[in-house]
Each structure stands twice: as structure tokens, then as C-alpha cells.
């Protein structure tokens, strides 16, 4: 093979579109010809540059499109009647549900039981099931004595539900969500204009000391959301919001404050101490 032919074949060669035998001939020529080898390197440098320019879909657009798809394809009567903030918050919280699963599973010490199939299958299944639930809130109440019992019979554990309105994190309500094939409690807090999903489920790491102190907090960011996750005794927690990481850390501290207190020992009307 001469240079002229090699140059003619160089594009399909770097695109792996050549027949294997022909590609081998080009390989051999490139091995012997620095000029043509450099031509190949130029194409690869161009490709690397192009890959850096590739953009992912903007998060807000993806959220809108998912809402649109639900409205078009599923029984969207209820959704269409709902205000714009609410459906954006629904969509946002549902994408956040997927985000937290990713973040937690990627982090250290995550105790998320795996269901059947690959991780991607579980995330999609959980995501779609939560789409069909179609709510940010299944129970809308700031009263922990309404929200906490609501979870009984829907979950195999009792989440730690507290209202932190005096510290700037009013409890808005809750719902059951699915992450990684496991039913989890999603407690919804509000911080000014931000929705914070506080996911909690039982830590399943049987070998760990179940009364151990709080594990170190794992912080990450996915698609513009901040995620904090940690384990505290028997409970695993994950916070997801578009609010800042420091805001989430405030809520994390509130959740951890007096975390070992049982409902019986905490006076029903005592506010959380302001931070």
C-alpha cells in the first residue's frame, strides 16, 4: 500500500469502518510511514477536541421534556390541572430520586440492597414507578404525628420524622419512593424556594455496629443537585436538593441532633433549637 492509497483510506480507517483485511494493510503502512502516521494523529487530535465540545442536555430542559412526555402519554389529567411549580417540583424530585440512588451507590459504605437485574434496570424501574405515583407528596402535612404514622403499613420501617420549621426547614410532607428496588421514605422539606428531599431507609449492613455513631458524610453533586448521604445507627440518609451544600449540611445537622431520641421521650410541642 502506498501513501496515496493510505491517505484515501485514512478516514474510514480511524472510524473503524474498513474491512478487517484492508485495515490491516493500512496498519502496516502506518507502522512504516511516519508522515501517514502523523496524518492519523491529526485526525485523532481533532476527534479528541470534538469530544470535549460535546454537550449534555441541560437539566432544566430534560425535566421539562419528561413532564411533557408524562402529560402526553400517561393519564395526565391530574397533572395538567396542577400548577407549573408543582409539576416542576414533581419532575425535579423524581429526577433527584434517581440522582440520589446514583450518588449513594457510588459512595462509600452505601447500604442499598440490590434487586434483580443491573443497577440501570433498578434505577429505571424505580424512576418509572415513582413517575406513576405522580406526586411530590403523598401526605401533605407539617405535623409529624400525621406524617410518621402515615408511613406505617406502607414501609417496613418507621422513619424519623421531625419538623424543623424554627430552624428554617419546614416539613412539607412525605411520600414513599423507590430507589434501587427498595421502598424508601421521602420526607420533603422546604428551604425558602428550594425543595429538599430527605430519603431514608434502614441501613442493611449487618456486619456494622448498628449503634455506631454517625458515619462520615459523603457529599456529591449530580446534574446540578447537591447530595449528602450518611448513615446514623440503623438509618441511612440521603439529602437531595438544588439548594447549596452548606444548606444541606445545616439540615443534616438538624436531623442528627437528638437523632437517638424516641418519639415517646421528645415532648410533642418542643421546637428544634434554632441554628
Amino acid at each position: 500500500m502506498d501513501c496515496r492509497e493510505a491517505r484515501n483510506l485514512l478516514d474510514p480507517y480511524v472510524d473503524r469502518e474498513l474491512d478487517a483485511a484492508v485495515a490491516r494493510h493500512v496498519d502496516e503502512h502506518l507502522g512504516d510511514c511516519p508522515a501517514c502516521a502523523e496524518a492519523r494523529e491529526r485526525l485523532l487530535a481533532l476527534r479528541n477536541g470534538a469530544r470535549e465540545l460535546r454537550e449534555n442536555v441541560p437539566f432544566t430542559l430534560a425535566v421539562r421534556i419528561r413532564s411533557d412526555a408524562r402529560a402526553e402519554l400517561a393519564d395526565g389529567r391530574l397533572t395538567r390541572a396542577v400548577g407549573r411549580w408543582r409539576s416542576a417540583a414533581v419532575a425535579a424530585s423524581l429526577v433527584a430520586a434517581v440522582s440520589i440512588a446514583w450518588a449513594v451507590l457510588a459512595g462509600r459504605g452505601a447500604s442499598m440492597p440490590a434487586g434483580g437485574g443491573t443497577l440501570a434496570d433498578e434505577l429505571v424501574a424505580g424512576h418509572v414507578r415513582s413517575l406513576m405515583a405522580a406526586h411530590l407528596l403523598d401526605v401533605a402535612s407539617s405535623d409529624r404525628h400525621t406524617v410518621k404514622p402515615w408511613f406505617l403499613g406502607k414501609l417496613d420501617f418507621a422513619p424519623d420524622v421531625r419538623d424543623f420549621r424554627d430552624a428554617g426547614f419546614p416539613l412539607v410532607g412525605g411520600r414513599v419512593d423507590y430507589v434501587g428496588g427498595r421502598a424508601v421514605a421521602a420526607l420533603v422539606y422546604q428551604r425558602q424556594k428550594h425543595v429538599v428531599n430527605a430519603f431514608t431507609w434502614p441501613a442493611s449492613d449487618m456486619s456494622a455496629d448498628r449503634t455506631a455513631a454517625v458515619s462520615s458524610v459523603t457529599s456529591s453533586e449530580r446534574q446540578g443537585y447537591h447530595v449528602l448521604s450518611w448513615r446514623s445507627g440503623q438509618a441511612q440518609w440521603g439529602l437531595v436538593s438544588d439548594a447549596s451544600e452548606s444548606t444541606l449540611r445545616e439540615l443534616q445537622a438538624l436531623i442528627q441532633s437528638d437523632a437517638s431520641a424516641t418519639p415517646a421521650s421528645a415532648p410533642a410541642s418542643a421546637p428544634a433549637s434554632p441554628r
Binding site: A45, A50, L53, E55, V57, A69, E72, V124, V128
Partner: protein, 184 residues
């Protein structure tokens, strides 16, 4: 589960994974992110409405074809509005009209490796649309020649020649030896 719910699940699983590919193609074809948002949102609605008749196969190519057609429709509409003709607009540039770039020599590898991303982005945007789309689909989205041919609605041979010329022009632009847009 309702029938609508099942359709939504199928749509979510088959089509929405390709949302970024759709976005990226629209962004580079329209060369404007606001336009790209409108195009992608509109295209996805169209995909929803046409999804009942989608019988499986390559969902990415299907979605990208919708996006590509929406882009060209809008670009044509704007050209008509501006009173520009079709075939001698530098946007479309039929292969036959295009003179071969001058043999400016190969740009230095060292130059290319010090990749100036802004310069590359500008050079990609300066490509005529039909060169730009094959370059984006190949190098950013990793489509095969056959897949690009499907999306662009042209034969594989045309894909190959447009791609080769896109690459020549981009290398030349980065080396500063030829301008990426020929002045006819």
C-alpha cells in the same frame, strides 16, 4: 397499569436515553442554545405523538432524524424569511457547488494537539450545515456511517466525502491556513 402508563415507560426507556444526543445535534445545527431547546422540546413532543407507530429498532437514529428535520425546517424557514435563495446559500452548500479547498499542506500535529477548544468550536460552527452535521454525528455522537446515512437521508458514500471534507476544513481552520467557510 394503564395503557398510557405502559407507553410512557416504553418511551422513557427507549427514547429518553438519547436526549443528550438530540440536544447536542440541535445545538450544533442551530448554533444557538435557545433555538436548540425549542427544537428539542418540539421534537420530543412529536416523538411522543408518533411513538405509537414506532415499532422498535434504532430509537436514537429515529429521534435524531426528527431533530435534524426540525432543524433544517426551521433554518429553511428563516432563510425564506430573510429572502435568501436555497441553493446558493452557504448554509446548504451542495457538494457539487463546492470547490476543493486549496492544498494548503498539512497543519502541524503539535498545533492540533494544543487544542484550542474555542477555536475548534468556532470552526465547527463555521462549517456548512451538511458538513457540520456529519462531523457532529460521527465525532461527538459516535454514529456509524450507516447510522449517519439514515439520519441525514443520504448514501454512505456522501457521508464519507462530507466527513472527509469537514475534517480537512477544520484542520485547516485550526492551522489558520484556510478559512473554514469558502467564499464562493
Amino acid at each position: 397499569m394503564t395503557e398510557g402508563g405502559e407507553t410512557l415507560i416504553r418511551f422513557e426507556q427507549a427514547v429518553l436515553p438519547h436526549l443528550s444526543a438530540a440536544w447536542n445535534l440541535a445545538r450544533w445545527l442551530m448554533r444557538d442554545r435557545h433555538d436548540a431547546e425549542d427544537i428539542v422540546q418540539q421534537s420530543c413532543l412529536r416523538a411522543c405523538r408518533g411513538f405509537a407507530s414506532f415499532r422498535g429498532g434504532d430509537a436514537r437514529a429515529w429521534l435524531l432524524t426528527i431533530v435534524r428535520n426540525a432543524c433544517y425546517t426551521e433554518l429553511s424557514r428563516r432563510r425564506r424569511q430573510r429572502g435568501e435563495g436555497g441553493s446558493h446559500s452557504s448554509e446548504l452548500l451542495d457538494d457539487a457547488d463546492l470547490p476543493a479547498p486549496p492544498g494548503a499542506g498539512d497543519p502541524e500535529l503539535a498545533l492540533l494537539r494544543r487544542m484550542d477548544h474555542e477555536a475548534l468550536a468556532a470552526a465547527v460552527e463555521a462549517l456548512p450545515a451538511m458538513f457540520r452535521e456529519v462531523f457532529v454525528l460521527r465525532e461527538m455522537e459516535g454514529l456509524s456511517y450507516q447510522e449517519i446515512a439514515e439520519v441525514a437521508g443520504v448514501p454512505v458514500g456522501t457521508v464519507m466525502s462530507r466527513l472527509a471534507r469537514a475534517r480537512q476544513r477544520l484542520q485547516g481552520a485550526l492551522a489558520g491556513k484556510i478559512s473554514a467557510v469558502e467564499n464562493p
